[in-house]
Amino acid sequence: MKYRYWLMNVKGISETDKRALSERLGGAREVFFAAEQRIGQIIGAKKAGEVVRQRGAWELDGAYRRFAEAGVTMVTQEDRSYPLLLRRIHQAPYGLYVSGTLPPEDADLTAIVGARRCSPYGRQMAEELAGALAGRGFSVVSGMARGIDGAAHRGCLAGGALTVAVLGCGVDVCYPKEHEKLCRVIRNNGCILSEFPPGTPPLAYHFPQRNRIISGMASRVIVVEAQEKSGSLITAELALEQGRDVYAVPGRVTDPLSAGCNRLIWQGAEPILSVEEFIGGLCGDRGKNAAKEAAKQEKIFLEKEETLVYSCFDLYPKSVDSVCEETGMDLLRLLSVIMDLCDKGFLREYVKNQYVRCR
């Protein structure tokens, strides 16, 4: 293991080089002891010198012991537990640091990515999609960022499935800070991965790099809310290069937060028209009917006034006053109806006195 740890930390050669070395020479240990000339035959003399120089550059035994004691594990391409799909992508990382338990080899992962600054609509869609996927036994992989990523993890956990977070910093670094609790829950219900050694701070250039792992691990990528020229679109592009299915959640034409998604759809990504239909499509017709059944059963009878008020709200926060204006209802009656709807779980207070639909 010690030598694998060393190979993971060798700088100056690409991930592909590391993989080639370990495959051709038969393991990290052999790489460590191989002659410079032999290494040079595989990756070129210049880089071979670089590798050899790093053999004695740091004290391997102590560093490895400290690493092992920190409670973080690692998985390399020499291990069988290395994610299968990830192994096949271009520039697949030679090794990953892991905090938590890796999903089983045959796990079917779905990546859900999107904007950090998202609307309640995006958050809700991410949560619902992740929850529905989890309900069907799919795990969700995302980046644990604010906004859509966090919502996707939450939805997946709430649906009872394992979730995988791929970070752009060390696995022991919680970024963003407000996700500390989420971070703990994911460690116990899935895992946190990173190709960066423990303790690495979150630097801007790490993130596009880690995006390839998110899409690489998954068999399909869903983009929920993305502006044009955003990191989520980079992930979508990488996913296409890696041959993954790309789905996008459509949004309003006027909403800059959905512009990226809508463009993806124009470019040929499959739009997600409803959660049920999407899940049905994944699981075949049987699932589709079941989902419809479930939706039917859940329908709760609303009173006339409640239906009227409910129809005024959508997934973008709306104030009491504007609904009062729209419906012409008495303010006090309206407040009472809104609270009833909140009670029944149809509405939710998004910020003070502004409400959004829950379903």
Binding site: R116, R117, S119, P120, R146, G147, R154, P176, K177, E178, E180, K181, L182, V185, P256, L257, P317, S319, V320, D321, S322, C324, E325, L331, L332, L335, S336, I338, M339, D340, C342, D343, Y350, V351, K352, N353, Q354
Partner: protein, 509 residues
């Protein structure tokens, strides 16, 4: 020759009687004043000496001693000039001493012998009346203020010779003062506020139960406007309240030249740079601060998040006790501070959250913004309302048939009467002040209502404190509805006004 005159020293907003003794005797020429005097009182020596000379009286070249008693309270302010001058004149035998025992004197003297206005005349004259005096000689410009105290003869003098004329010969001609034009400040009325139904309603609820209130909304939505309208729906002040408020303003020198007591309830809106002392009152001899100036009215804190945290923390005690106690070396001063706190703030740094088209703030910065408030302070605010900008058609609707403040005030007065009746014989005055231990008595819930509150408690993750707040507000709403029993709809409305959620302060998944 010895003489003694009476005056009063301002202590906070109350006054204590002080007597000034003067003695002129043989010996080395000397002018000495003793009796725990502040610098400005010691300076009276020079002012009075020159003023007497310029008024045509000559101080004898003798040993002159003045004593202020009681000696244990510190005398400060400019009001001692006139008593010193008259005590000297009496000791010199220029004025008769006979009547001085029941006359109060107060005023500042200028070098040419004129008598200038001073702060705190109202509490001084009130103290004089309590001590059995019947006449007061005050500066001309303080005439109206002194005349507010019934049963006192007010002699307003313009200079020292007028005072001498009155004391010697009883000559006093009341000057006919041109009635001043009543300065009518801009008055705000709820009829000016278009639309904003929720805001209007919550203001009415807040004032009906005297609940503290927080308005959250983007800039320009009408938070300040609404706050300025609120004094117009407060019930009129009783004479007792007017007198108390007038005393505070008089002590601060803010009484102005109004005729009659302060009739309208105060609306104070200190800037967010206000210091702790500015807010609560302070100084070596404490003067009332903004919270006391807002006594009986509204203290409006605009941009609540911009106030210094330590300044806001200070509000916690007066909000509970309705008064502020300030301890200084010179003693403990207690100022009344029974106000309704109305605060306004933006939801985030730029002010537009959650409108993502305008707001560029991250969730973290939104939380940081709200976290600038202290939770204990927010816990003392019962009603929190979101104020949103009006759509154009409501704004442009001209003056629609909006309800006027007078109409709202009528209802508020009725609800206050209900509360007076309910709390008769207790310390409580309004629903907002019901202590938690007697809440089950005054806010009894039926089985349906308590079942509703139970579900609410779980769904909204309420704390005990926020649960109590909802009950108090529901009590007020039920009173407004004319119902003795709190119904589910009252609880529902009350829960709409509940304070900012704990999600801003606590970690959530």
């Amino acid at each position: 020759m010895y003489s003694l005159v009476h005056t009063a020293a301002l202590c906070g907003i109350d006054s204590r009687m002080v007597s000034v003794e003067a003695d002129i005797s043989d010996g080395m020429p000397l002018f000495e004043m003793v009796g725990f005097l502040a610098a400005e009182v010691k300076e009276a020596k020079e002012r009075v000496r020159t003023a007497l000379k310029n008024s045509g009286y000559h101080l004898p070249i003798k040993r002159i001693t003045l004593n202020f008693s009681p000696a244990n309270i510190r005398k400060s302010g400019a009001a001692f000039d006139l008593p010193v001058a008259v005590a000297l004149l009496a000791a010199m035998g220029v004025v008769k001493k006979d009547d001085l025992a029941h006359i109060l004197l107060a005023g500042e003297v200028t070098l040419d012998g004129k008598v200038a206005a001073v702060d705190g005349i109202l509490p001084m004259v009130m103290a004089a009346r309590e001590n059995g005096m019947d006449t007061c000689i005050v500066p001309e410009d303080n005439h109206e203020e002194a005349a507010l105290v019934p049963g006192m003869r007010v002699v307003a003098v313009g200079d020292l010779s007028e005072a001498e004329a009155f004391l010697n010969r009883g000559e006093y001609r009341e000057k006919s003062r041109a009635p001043k034009e009543k300065k009518q400040g801009k008055t705000y009325d709820f009829s000016m506020l278009n639309g904003q139904k929720l805001l209007r309603r919550s203001c009415e609820v807040a004032i009906s139960g005297m609940h503290n209130m927080l308005l959250v909304g983007p800039p320009g939505a009408g938070k300040t406007m609404a706050a300025k309208c609120i004094p117009s729906i407060l019930p009129p002040m009783t004479e007792e309240e007017q007198l108390e408020l007038s005393k505070i303003y008089s002590a601060c020198g803010m009484f102005g030249e109004r005729e009659g007591l302060m009739e309208s309830r105060p609306f104070r809106s200190p800037h967010h740079t206000v210091s702790e002392q500015g807010l609560t009152g302070g100084g070596a001899v404490p003067r009332p601060g903004e919270i006391s100036l807002a006594h009986g009215g509204i203290l409006f804190l605009d941009e609540l998040t911009e106030f210094r945290k330590s300044t806001l923390e200070i509000l916690r005690q007066p909000l509970e006790e309705k008064k502020i106690r300030i301890s200084r070396a010179s003693g403990v001063y207690c100022f009344p501070a029974d106000f309704v706190l109305v605060a306004a703030m933006n939801p985030c740094d730029c002010g537009y959250y959650p409108d993502l088209e305008k707001c560029r703030c991250t969730m973290a910065s939104v939380r940081r913004h709200v976290q600038k408030l202290s939770r204990p302070l927010v816990d003392r605010i019962d009603i929190c309302t979101r104020v949103d900008a009006l759509p154009y058609r409501e704004l442009s609707g001209g003056r629609q048939e909006n309800e006027t403040s007078a109409q709202i005030r009528e209802r508020v007065v009725r609800v206050h009467a209900i509360q007076r009746e309910r709390f008769a014989g207790t310390q409580i005055r309004f629903n907002s002040a019901i202590p938690a231990d007697v809440l089950p008595i005054f806010c009894a819930l039926g089985s349906r209502e308590s079942a509703y509150m139970e579900s609410l408690y779980e769904r909204m993750e309420l704390t005990a404190r926020s649960y109590h707040k909802i009950l108090r507000v529901a009590r007020t709403i039920a009173d407004m509805d004319g119902q003795e029993r709190i119904a589910v709809r009252h609880l529902q409305e009350a829960s709409c006004y509940r304070s900012l959620g704990r999600e801003y302060w606590e970690e959530c998944l």
